[in-house]
């Protein structure tokens, strides 16, 4: 899995301009500077509060969403880099078969503790299974190491990914 990370210029920003975004299958127009990070457009302008702010620097993964099926860190992705791409957030991820399986496994295994990182974890897990339907432990580690869980729910994250992949519920 490729993690798309686009560094934006932190101090320059343009005037608000109308931009069309495709989020969870719906086209939505926003009127904000093109440098505004996707995370804050989703949270403030479009009302998708599922993606979370953790670090603002692409280090914790709490803000993970999909851009054309790839996991990206929305806190460091300016919307002018999104273009025509299809964005999927935690609110829309269960619309796909893999997304539904992963979400169901997350509930079934009761993965969350505080829950703050889990939207990002699920988005990374779905992106992993979309590209690798039967990941090994080391595949899971490699794909999920960008998502910090401060509570340490990692065992259950592994279990849930395996359950969603249809494998054994092994540790």
């Amino acid at each position: 899995m490729r993690i798309v990370q686009m560094q934006m210029n932190k101090t320059v920003r343009g005037d608000p301009m109308p931009t069309m975004l495709k989020v969870n299958g719906t086209s939505r127009q926003v009127d904000v500077p093109g440098e505004k990070p996707l995370l804050w457009v989703l949270r403030e302008d479009l009302g998708y509060l599922g993606p979370k702010f953790g670090c603002g620097a692409g280090l914790c993964g709490a803000c993970t969403v999909h851009l054309d099926g790839q996991a990206i860190r929305s806190c460091i992705t300016p919307i002018n880099a999104v273009g025509e791409g299809a964005i999927t957030t935690i609110e829309g991820v269960a619309a796909s078969a893999v997304g539904k399986r992963v979400s169901d496994a997350w509930v079934d295994i009761d993965v969350p503790q505080c829950g703050y990182c889990q939207a990002g974890q699920i988005m990374s897990a779905v992106a992993l299974l979309e590209s690798n339907p039967a990941p090994s432990d080391s595949d899971i580690d490699a794909a999920m190491a960008g998502n910090l869980c401060r509570c340490g729910t990692y065992h259950r994250i592994r279990d849930a990914i395996k359950q969603a992949a249809g494998g054994a519920n092994a540790r």
Partner: protein, 727 residues
């Protein structure tokens, strides 16, 4: 009285005091109704027409699982099916709910009986109402899964049919309640998932940062890089020129009484805009000489302190100096550990609306009542004028026991009366404004007699605080194991001043003391020709309750709890058995034991080297938290989470360096918390003993730190006398 309570709370948060709490179950009066077409029976229970039961969870949920655990206790004695229960978060109102906080692993021991009694009270009122309606003795009525049953007349009715009448019944005396026999529990002890799990997985707004109110503005905060520095001057022109910026407000000496800060708050129509404007603030700070504080000066001060006697004595038993002088063997070593941050994944944040002498807050606080008082004081209003709604909390770990963010947002919101303001700290500010786990330096000496028996234990702790008093989590307890178990003990401490504010981090005190003492004792055990668990069993001796010396000025019920050597030995033996501990363990295996927050935990860790890095390959843990694990589904997570956090204290480089008065951590790249790829298999065993159930948020952590450090010592042949481990 209030001071007593605060002191008591502090004692409990630090280590877990002994307990004696009265239940006061408020009736339905003054409470919000339980929703449409439902009858509220008491502060905790409302029953709807369709027989669903809304149970109020009084304490803040930080991921420790109280939102399932507390309602489980109520539902059990109310005698309803868990599937019919909806859980609702209480507002902060201690007049109705008693203590409402998330800390000290206290929710279980403080509420095990009171919440069951709350459920039993509501059940008794429903039964009384049925008895009246049916004209039969209450004693002939039974209940099951939300139904009232009179077997003789074959009558049954759902609770819903009686709830309105039950609400008018007299609240029965607690002494008259008959609680269930644990053998008949149908909810307690069964795995129950978190009530919010489906909403979390669906990405629903639950957390403090998700608060959205009509007309709300967003705030970001700029504080000084050097904690405690005062604002000399600033130029807000560039920030104000950014479209969308509403206001820049200087805040002076606010937040927390112990560590007030100067700050500039930017209010804007978007948090991103506020955050961008924050970078444009031209602020000048007066460091007031605080640049002198650094790791190097702390280490030098500790070295100087070790050259002399401790500034204060915590415990003197027998004559440690004499015992050391005549010992067959003396083991001496120095240990140290760094400041640590809480680094909750949800940054500190809070939302407030202030108008006409009243304030309403939406607060992710672990101690909301204290925050409410702080806000009232800052605004100059009565506490009753402040309403605090509790949001779900994206990680606590003790950070949010300090409610500084509540004060900061309230004082920002005061500048825009009637307009709700949501303050979110940048990650950099979240680190700057943390209240850190104190660093510490230990000098240890231990005496062994010719038989390898521990005859004396002495330590000098150099810790941090103010005016000779250790700060939060920097105390040296007088019942430190093994000082409480040897004939000659000498515990002393010296307190260093710094500008680093201190706070309770998960298992405060214990998370550092367990490492230092158990790693040192691993050295002592080796000198005695034993492994640490075998040595610990010797030191523990026969099963008995060891009662700590009384702490002056602390009420009896909040004195530190007795230490049960039998329970300690029980978990040590259990983990030795499960890990197949041998007299000569393989290289890379380490052990740790600790008692904190009323829980006894022993851990074995295996460490190996792969690709030039150390990793924990397996861990075993045995714990004793009494007779009952209330929610095994969550208990497993609390233990694993503690153990993963414990690995992070040792391997990976977790520390908060201080240079020039500044903490040298601004984001997660410099604070490498454990990721999924470092997590080993963990085998958990609970030892059940006939003791009241106690909490699980913290006590599993401290021994892990020691076990991992000792495992590394075993692997490398070099003692890990300083954390984090460095090759």
């Amino acid at each position: 009285m209030l001071a007593d309570r605060r002191l008591a709370l502090k004692a409990m948060l630090a280590a877990g005091g002994t307990l004696a709490f009265d239940i006061q179950i408020a009736g339905a009066q003054g409470a919000k109704p339980g929703g449409a077409a439902s009858a509220r029976i008491n502060a905790y229970v409302a029953i709807a027409a369709d027989n669903t039961v809304t149970i109020t969870s009084k304490n803040p949920e930080i991921g420790q699982g109280v939102k399932a655990m507390l309602p489980m206790l109520i539902a059990e004695e109310l005698d309803v099916a868990w599937g019919s229960v909806k859980v609702e978060q209480a507002v902060a109102d201690q007049s109705r709910f008693g203590e409402q906080f998330a800390g000290g692993s206290m929710s279980t021991p403080m509420n095990w009986m009171p919440m069951r009694q709350a459920g039993a009270t509501a059940r008794a009122m429903i039964v009384a109402a049925a008895a009246k309606q049916w004209g039969v003795p209450a004693a002939d009525i039974t209940t099951s899964a939300g139904e009232v049953i009179h077997a003789a007349s074959k009558r049954r009715a759902p609770y819903a049919a009686l709830a309105a009448a039950a609400a008018k019944e007299a609240v029965p005396d607690v002494a008259s309640l008959k609680l269930k026999d644990p053998a008949s529990f149908t909810i307690i002890g069964k795995p129950v998932p978190g009530p919010d799990t489906p909403a979390i997985v669906a990405g629903k707004p639950l957390f403090g940062v998700d608060t959205v109110l009509p007309g709300m503005v967003h705030a970001a905060l700029l504080t000084a890089p050097v904690r405690g520095a005062t604002l000399k001057s600033h130029d807000a022109a560039k920030a104000l020129a950014l479209p969308g910026v509403r206001k820049v407000v200087p805040l002076r000496q606010l937040g927390h009484d112990d560590a007030p800060v100067d700050a500039l708050a930017v209010m804007a129509d978007s948090w991103w805009t506020a955050s961008e404007a924050r970078k444009l603030l031209d602020a000048q700070w007066d460091n007031g000489g605080r640049e002198k504080h650094s790791d190097a000066t702390f280490a030098a001060a500790a070295k100087a302190a070790f050259a002399g006697a401790p500034a204060a004595s915590v415990r003197k038993e027998g004559d440690a100096a004499a015992a050391l002088a005549k010992a067959a063997k003396v083991v001496s070593a120095e240990y140290s550990y760094p400041f640590l941050a809480h680094a909750t994944l949800e940054p500190q944040n809070c939302t407030a609306q202030v108008k006409d002498g009243k304030a309403e807050l939406w607060a992710p606080s672990q101690m909301p009542d204290e925050g409410k008082g702080m806000v009232a004081k800052a605004l100059g209003v009565a506490p009753d004028a402040v309403t605090v709604n509790l949001t779900r909390i994206g990680g606590g770990f003790g950070r949010r026991l300090q409610s500084d963010f509540m004060v900061l947002v309230a004082m920002i919101a005061r500048e825009v009366p009637g307009v709700p303001v949501k303050l979110i700290l940048e990650r950099e500010e979240d680190f700057r404004l943390d209240f850190f786990r104190p660093a510490g330096f230990h000098k240890f000496d231990a005496a062994l007699d010719a038989q390898g028996k521990l005859t004396a234990f002495r330590t000098h702790l150099v810790t941090f605080g103010a005016k000779g008093q250790p700060g939060r989590g920097g105390e040296l307890p007088n019942d430190l194991v093994p000082a409480n178990l040897v004939p000659n003990a000498d515990l002393g401490m010296t307190v260093l001043d710094s500008n680093v504010p201190l706070g309770w981090l998960r298992a405060p005190g214990s998370n550092a003391l367990a490492y230092a003492t158990q790693a040192f004792l691993d050295e002592v055990a080796a000198a005695a020709g034993k492994t640490l668990p075998a040595f610990m069993l010797d030191v523990l001796g026969e099963a008995r309750a060891v009662v700590p010396p009384k702490i002056p000025g602390v009420p009896d019920i909040f004195q530190p709890p007795p230490f049960d050597t039998g329970r300690a030995a029980g978990v040590i033996r259990e983990v030795m058995k499960n890990a197949a501990w041998q007299e000569k363990p393989a290289k890379g295996r380490g052990f740790g034991f600790y008692f904190s927050h009323l829980g006894y935990f022993a851990v074995v860790a295996d460490v190996a080297e792969a690709d030039g890095a150390l990793r924990v390959t397996k861990m075993w843990v045995a714990g004793d938290i009494g007779s009952t694990v209330i929610n095994p589904m969550n208990a497993e997570q609390q233990i694993r989470g503690s153990m993963i956090e414990g690995i992070g204290h040792v391997i990976g480089g977790l520390k908060v360096p201080v240079e020039g008065g500044q903490v040298q951590v601004a984001n997660f790249d410099a604070y490498p918390l454990p990721r999924i790829d470092v997590v080993p298999p963990i085998e958990i065993a609970m030892v059940r003993t006939d003791n009241p159930p106690t909490g699980l948020g913290e006590p599993a952590l401290p021994p892990v730190v020691a076990a991992v450090a000792n495992a590394i010592s075993s692997l490398t042949g070099k003692r890990v006398r300083s954390l984090p481990y460095q090759a």
